[in-house]
C-alpha cells in the first residue's frame, strides 16, 4: 500500500461540521452508524473549579470502522470513551450507539486477581446471561482467539503484561460487543509485544467485524491501526483534525507509509501543543 501526501486528507472545512453533515467518510459501505456523538460537551466540577473537558464533540463512527483518537494529555480522551460506554453522562449533547453493545478495555488489564484467566472471561459471559452449559466452550474459544488456549487455568499474576492484556481483550469480546472502546490498551507494553498485539487486534477485528474506538497518544500506533485518525486538542477537548487513511490491508509499523502518516500527525499535534506555550 502507498500513502502519499494527497491521500492523507485533512478536511477542508471545520472537522466538527463535516462529521455532523454525515456525508463524510464516516458513512462507509456498511451504511450503519455504530456510534454517533452530537455536539457532546462535558463539564467537570462547578463554579471556579469548573473544567470543560470536552467541547462540542461531533463524531460518527461507521459499522466496522477503526477510529483512532489521538491527542496530548488532558484532552479528554478517556472522558470521551466513558461517555460512549455509558459510564458517564454528557453535560450537553447526545451520545447514540443505537442499542449496540459496547465493550471497554483499559490501559491496565483490570482482570479480577482472584479468578483464573478462564474464569475472568467466563464471568463476562455469565454477566451477559450466557447459559452455564455453553460458557465453558465459549471461554475456550475466546482464549484461543487471543492465542491463549491452554492458559485458562493461570491466574493473572502468573501471566506477562501482554498476555494479561490479551485476556482483557478476550473478556471484552466475551461481552459480545459490537463496539470495542479501547483506552490506550497497549500503552504499558513494550514495543515488541505491542507490535504483535496490533497484528492480533487487526485480525480479530476483521474476523468479527468490530467497530473500534481506539484512544492512544502514540502517533505510530494510530497510523498503523486506524481507518481514520481523529485529533483532539487539549483543554478543552475539541476535534481539530481528521485524517482518513486508505484501508489497504496490512500495514507494518515500520513501513514508510506509516512513518509518513505518523510524521504529519506529529507535526499537527506539535502545532496544537504550541498553542499552550504560554
Amino acid at each position: 500500500m502507498r500513502v502519499s501526501n494527497e491521500q492523507v486528507t485533512p478536511p477542508a472545512s471545520s472537522p466538527g461540521a463535516s462529521a455532523l453533515s454525515g456525508t463524510g467518510p464516516a458513512d462507509g459501505p456498511a451504511g450503519g452508524e455504530a456510534v454517533r456523538l452530537t455536539d457532546v460537551s462535558k463539564v467537570y466540577g462547578t463554579g471556579r473549579a469548573e473544567l470543560l473537558a470536552l467541547d462540542s464533540i461531533s463524531l460518527t463512527v461507521a459499522d466496522g470502522e477503526f477510529v483512532c483518537i489521538i491527542g496530548a494529555s488532558g484532552c479528554g480522551k478517556s472522558t470521551l470513551l466513558n461517555l460512549v460506554a455509558g459510564l458517564d453522562q454528557p453535560t450537553s449533547g447526545q451520545v447514540d450507539t443505537s442499542g449496540r453493545k459496547v465493550g471497554l478495555m483499559f490501559q491496565e488489564p483490570a482482570l479480577f486477581p482472584w479468578l483464573t484467566a478462564g474464569r475472568n472471561v467466563e464471568l463476562a459471559l455469565q454477566a451477559q446471561g450466557v447459559p452455564r452449559a455453553v460458557r465453558r466452550a465459549q471461554t475456550t474459544e475466546l482464549l484461543e482467539a487471543v492465542r491463549l488456549g491452554g492458559f485458562g487455568d493461570k491466574r493473572p499474576h502468573e501471566l506477562s503484561g501482554g498476555m494479561r492484556q490479551r485476556v482483557a481483550l478476550a473478556r471484552a469480546l466475551a461481552q459480545n460487543a459490537d463496539v470495542l472502546l479501547m483506552d490506550e490498551p497497549f500503552g504499558a507494553l513494550d514495543a515488541m509485544t505491542r507490535d504483535l498485539l496490533h497484528d492480533e487486534l487487526e485480525r480479530i477485528c476483521t474476523e468479527r467485524t468490530l467497530t473500534v474506538l481506539f484512544v492512544t497518544h502514540n502517533v505510530r500506533e494510530a497510523a498503523r491501526l486506524g481507518d481514520r485518525v481523529v485529533l483532539l486538542s487539549s483543554r478543552p477537548g475539541r476535534i481539530i483534525d481528521e485524517y482518513t487513511l486508505p484501508r489497504a490491508g496490512h500495514r507494518r509499523i515500520d513501513s514508510p507509509e506509516v512513518s509518513q502518516v505518523a510524521a504529519s500527525l506529529t507535526d499537527r499535534l506539535r502545532e496544537e501543543m504550541g498553542r499552550h506555550d504560554y
Partner: protein, 288 residues
C-alpha cells in the same frame, strides 16, 4: 502463522521457568527454614526464664520451667485440663461465629447504605477500641452470671473488628475493577457477589484475624470476671489457682492460653498468606 509463533515465543520468554531441584530436599529445607527461628525463640525464652528463677527473684511466686511443665504434664494426664480447654474453646468458637455473622451483616449494611454509615460508622470504630470487658458488669445485669453473659462480652469484642474489616474491604475495592465490572454488565447483587465481596476478602480476613484476637482476650477477661456454677474454664482455673496460691498452676494456665492464641493466629496467618499468594500479592523473592 508467524504472528502466532512470535507471540508464543514471547509468552514463553516472559513466563518464569519452574524451579528445579528434588522435591523432598526442597520441602525439608523449607520446613527447617520455617522451624528454626521458632525453636530458637522457645529455647531463648526458656533459658531466660530459668536464669531468672536461678537468681531467686520473687521465688515464692515465680516458678521455673521445670515445676511449671511438670504441673502442666500432671494437669494434662490427671487433672481437668482438657475439659477446661474444651469448655473455654466452646465459648470462644460459639461467640466468635455469632460475632462473625453479626459483624458481617452489620459491615455489609453499613458499607452499602451511606446514611447508615454516617450514623454508625464511627460508633463501630469506637466499639473496636473499647476494651470489651467493660461490658461485663452490664452483661451480668442483663443475662445473669451464665454463659450468655460471657458470649455477649466476646461478641462485643470481636464483631466491631470483623465489621470494620469488611467495610474497609468494600471501600478499597479498586475503582478500575468496578469500572470493568460495570461495563461487563455486573450490577446489584451480582456486583457484590462476583466483584466487591471477593475484592474485599483480604481486608475481611484481616478483620477476622483481629476479631479473633479481641474475642480471645475478651473471653479470658470475661471468664475471670464471670463465674458460672458447675462449669470450668481457663479463666476460672486461673482464678482458682490464684486463690490457693498455686503459682505453678497459674503459670501453666498462662502457657495454655498463650499456646491456643498462637495456634489460632497461625491458622489465620496461613489463610491470609494463601489468599495473597493466589492473588499474586506476595513478592516471590520474599516468600520462600
Amino acid at each position: 502463522m508467524t504472528t502466532n509463533q512470535a507471540l508464543r515465543g514471547l509468552d514463553n520468554l516472559e513466563l518464569r521457568s519452574p524451579q528445579g531441584g528434588p522435591e523432598h530436599a526442597r520441602l525439608a529445607r523449607k520446613a527447617w527454614a520455617v522451624a528454626w527461628p521458632k525453636l530458637a525463640a522457645i529455647v531463648l525464652v526458656l533459658a531466660v526464664w530459668e536464669l531468672i528463677t536461678l537468681t531467686g527473684w520473687k521465688k515464692l511466686v515465680l516458678k521455673g520451667p521445670g515445676p511449671v511443665f511438670s504441673d502442666l504434664w500432671h494437669q494434662m494426664h490427671h487433672g481437668m485440663l482438657w475439659a477446661t480447654i474444651g469448655w473455654t474453646l466452646r465459648s470462644a468458637v460459639t461467640g466468635y461465629f455469632v460475632a462473625l455473622i453479626i459483624g458481617s451483616l452489620v459491615g455489609l449494611l453499613v458499607a452499602r447504605i451511606p446514611p447508615l454509615r454516617a450514623a454508625v460508622g464511627s460508633i463501630i470504630t469506637g466499639l473496636q477500641t473499647m476494651p470489651s470487658v467493660a461490658w461485663a458488669p452490664f452483661a451480668i445485669v442483663l443475662f445473669g452470671e451464665n454463659s450468655s453473659a460471657i458470649l455477649f462480652v466476646v461478641i462485643m469484642g470481636a464483631a466491631p473488628s470483623i465489621a470494620n474489616g469488611l467495610i474497609t474491604g468494600v471501600d478499597y475495592t479498586p475503582p478500575l475493577l468496578l469500572r470493568a465490572g460495570k461495563t461487563m454488565g455486573l450490577h446489584g447483587f451480582a456486583l457484590y457477589r462476583y466483584l466487591i465481596l471477593p475484592a474485599s476478602l483480604p481486608a475481611y480476613v484481616a478483620g477476622m484475624k483481629q476479631g479473633w484476637a479481641f474475642a480471645w482476650r475478651s473471653l479470658m477477661a470475661a471468664e475471670l470476671f464471670i463465674a458460672i456454677i458447675g462449669q470450668v474454664s481457663l479463666g476460672q482455673q486461673l482464678d482458682a489457682d490464684m486463690s490457693v496460691q498455686d503459682f505453678a498452676g497459674v503459670s501453666s494456665v498462662i502457657i495454655v492460653i498463650l499456646v491456643i492464641g498462637i495456634i489460632v493466629d497461625t491458622i489465620f496467618t496461613k489463610a491470609d498468606l494463601a489468599l495473597r499468594r493466589r492473588r499474586g500479592l506476595l513478592d516471590p523473592a520474599a516468600a520462600s
